[in-house]
Amino acid sequence: MAERVFITGMGMVTAIGDNVAGNLQRLRQQESGLGFTDYIDTIYKQVLPVGEVKLDNTTLFRMAGIPVQDGFSRTTLLGLVAMREALQQAGIQHLQDEPTGFINASTVGGMCDTEKVYFDLINPEKSGTFIESIHTLDCADCTQRIADTVGFTEHMATISTACSSSANALMFGARMIKAGMYQRMVCGGTEALTRFTLNGFNSLKNVDKQFCRPFDQQRTGLNLGEGAAYLVLESESFAKANNSTILAEFTGYCNANEAFHPTSPSPEGDGAYAAMKNALAMSGRTLEEVQYINVHGTATLNNDISEGRALERMFGTAIPPFSSTKPFTGHTLAAAGAIEAIYAVLAIRNGIIFPNLNFSERMEELQIAPATELQEEVVINNVISNSFGFGGNNASLVISKYEG
């Protein structure tokens, strides 16, 4: 029988905090991280709000514990900050002590830096240190720089399935543990804001000029965000032998494709429904045992109808509290699945249901509405976390309280 998989370390940086504790504090204070950008060179600087990490790159270099140098993109730096915390929290001083795989996720790699020098890169007349950023063009660059800095040498992969990327990274890592290939994996994703993605989503008319309003009748789109998050996954036998602090159990997951449209979900939420249903079935938990759902909830017109319909199909009106935390962080694309997986662990360990900010009016298509108040001292044993992406890629994770 395949091993159970435990979460034994977590690290993150988002618009609402430089570490896990900072994120929890801001979630409790119900304080959003959305605002205008300081760092992206765009005509939408004062127009489109984003969830930007307010630290400049010099500060990120310091927090990452490395000297300022060329070739380290903001994507890499955000990843390193989160990675350092995850390893520290898991009590890992030397990665070599136990073979440990690293599964990273990224949607556009180091585009945040590439786009600033791209026209120099293609211009034979130009030369200079910008050449150092040639490699940041691809998604593996951040993965390998993070790996080389902290000492990963074993199995390595970067996954890119748009907005579900890091949920798929967690799934892949857990499956490698269950397949007996590794006892320990570190999985997650990193994403920096770019002019490329901001204009991409804006060209799809998916970006709200106000703070995003998931599951609200008046919602008009998402706000992009940036951040990084990594979770340390360990097999049950290793975690016990190693005396690891077990934060939660990763009990279920499913990746299902919708095969409906390149960028839009189906109106009935077929992919979301299949992903949630199969993930819950794998966890062995019943519908009644789910106390909280951290929804994908991007606040785009289509996502929220589709995901809402899937929730109704699954739970009817007896739905547990659900909320989108994207009004806190913005939509962090490849990092979102891992960031929200950590929020799921925080919900379980602290008995908190995070409010869905900016909600005022229930969607006319739905009978259900998100939790709008912060709820504390709630018994939460199982959380479903959703991440859905372009290409019909739907991923759901079930994270459960560790019961021994």
Binding site: A157, T161, A162, R195, N199, N257, P262, F390
Partner: protein, 346 residues
């Protein structure tokens, strides 16, 4: 993980005539350029004209290869779709970067942005074949396709009846220029036939798409079996030697990723020392690219299935083995991601 799966069908678009041709009879495509370009098929039998118009080059290549692979494999649904690509649609990425600049961030057409997303080919395959199963895309340079293969083998072990596993990669003139700035390519035109003649820095670039239907159990239709895979990140030579020995000791044919680049030739010299066996190269056929390993797997399975090696494709090899049942493939991507695959006759 149990490392054994069967190739039930496959298809490849490459700089050789691999899509419509037969490996035993197709002529070797010679190129004078250091950028090998795919021989693209007529896409109309695979992709409806209205979709084809919107799709850029690597999307067409990836989708058509996947669809042909499914049709020759005789499976009714694709099952899980797992792919690897190092660079995704470069053409769309370049176009969107430029349009942002050109149109000053206003009134942009979202199509290049959508198509630049690395998993867009997966989405198209799923959409056209109603593939509602697992769907994943790996984007890690020389580990992209091999991670897709590892993922597929895990899926088969977890109970999937078959998977659709593949790769897609393109090289654009602009990206070729960018990578020339760090010396990835030969400075003077070398021509693929003479790639191995001189020991010089740099290689020739390539591109292609290869897809496989993989199954856990063999059938009459099985083309070959994949019986070993190992991914090594920046390995020390001792580690690499040990793995080559472990996986390749009883192989009777070696397929080497040698690409004529003197900067990294020492790894392939190590291969020849550790496994002194009949060896054939493949980069003169497809060029160097992130997912060239998928072409090597296609080649290994094709040769095993055909039972012989077409001499015309390997003019630089003096003596080709007549009989071989177990093939070991060793490849690395600019010295960083090293991969070993074992492919056997069924």
């Amino acid at each position: 993980m149990k490392v054994k799966c069967y190739i039930q069908g496959m298809a490849a678009i490459s700089p050789q005539q691999t899509f419509d041709g037969d490996i035993s009879t197709a002529p070797f495509v010679h190129s004078e350029s250091n950028r090998l370009v795919c021989v693209e098929p007529d896409y109309k039998p695979y992709i409806p004209a209205n979709s084809l118009r919107r799709m850029t080059r690597v999307l067409r290549m990836g989708l058509a290869t996947a669809l042909k692979c499914l049709s020759v494999s005789g499976v009714s649904t694709p099952g899980p779709i797992v792919t690897g690509t190092g660079k995704g649609s470069l053409q769309d990425t370049e176009k969107f970067i430029k349009e942002i600049e050109q149109y000053k961030e206003t009134a942009l057409n979202p199509t290049p942005f959508i198509q630049s997303t690395y998993n867009s080919v997966n989405g198209l395959i799923a959409l056209q074949q109603n593939g509602t199963d697992y769907n994943n895309t790996f984007v890690h340079r020389g580990f992209s396709f091999e991670n897709a293969l590892v993922d597929s083998m895990m899926l088969l072990q977890e109970g999937a009846s078959h998977t659709l596993t593949g790769s897609f990669e393109e090289m654009t003139p602009e990206h070729y220029y960018i990578k020339s700035r760090i010396g990835q390519w030969r400075e003077a035109p070398v021509g693929n036939t003479h790639l191995f003649d001189a020991n010089l820095p740099g290689t020739i670039s390539g591109e292609g798409s290869a897809f496989f239907v993989l199954a856990a159990a063999p059938t009459q239709e099985s083309k070959a079996a994949v019986t070993g895979i190992k991914l090594l990140y920046k390995p020390a030579s001792e580690r690499l030697s040990a793995v080559l020995q472990e996986l390749g000791a009883d192989a009777d044919l070696v397929i080497s990723g040698a690409n004529g680049d003197s900067n990294y030739a020492h790894y392939y010299q190590l291969l020849n020392t550790v496994l002194p066996k009949p060896t054939i190269p493949f980069k003169h056929l497809c060029g160097e690219y992130d997912t060239a390993g998928s072409f090597a797997l296609w080649l290994a399975a094709s040769l095993l299935h055909a039972g012989n090696i077409p001499a015309e494709w390997f003019p630089m090899v003096k003596e080709l083995p007549a009989d071989f049942k177990k093939v070991v493939i060793y490849n690395h991507f600019f010295g960083e991601q090293h991969t070993v695959m074992v492919v056997e006759k069924v």
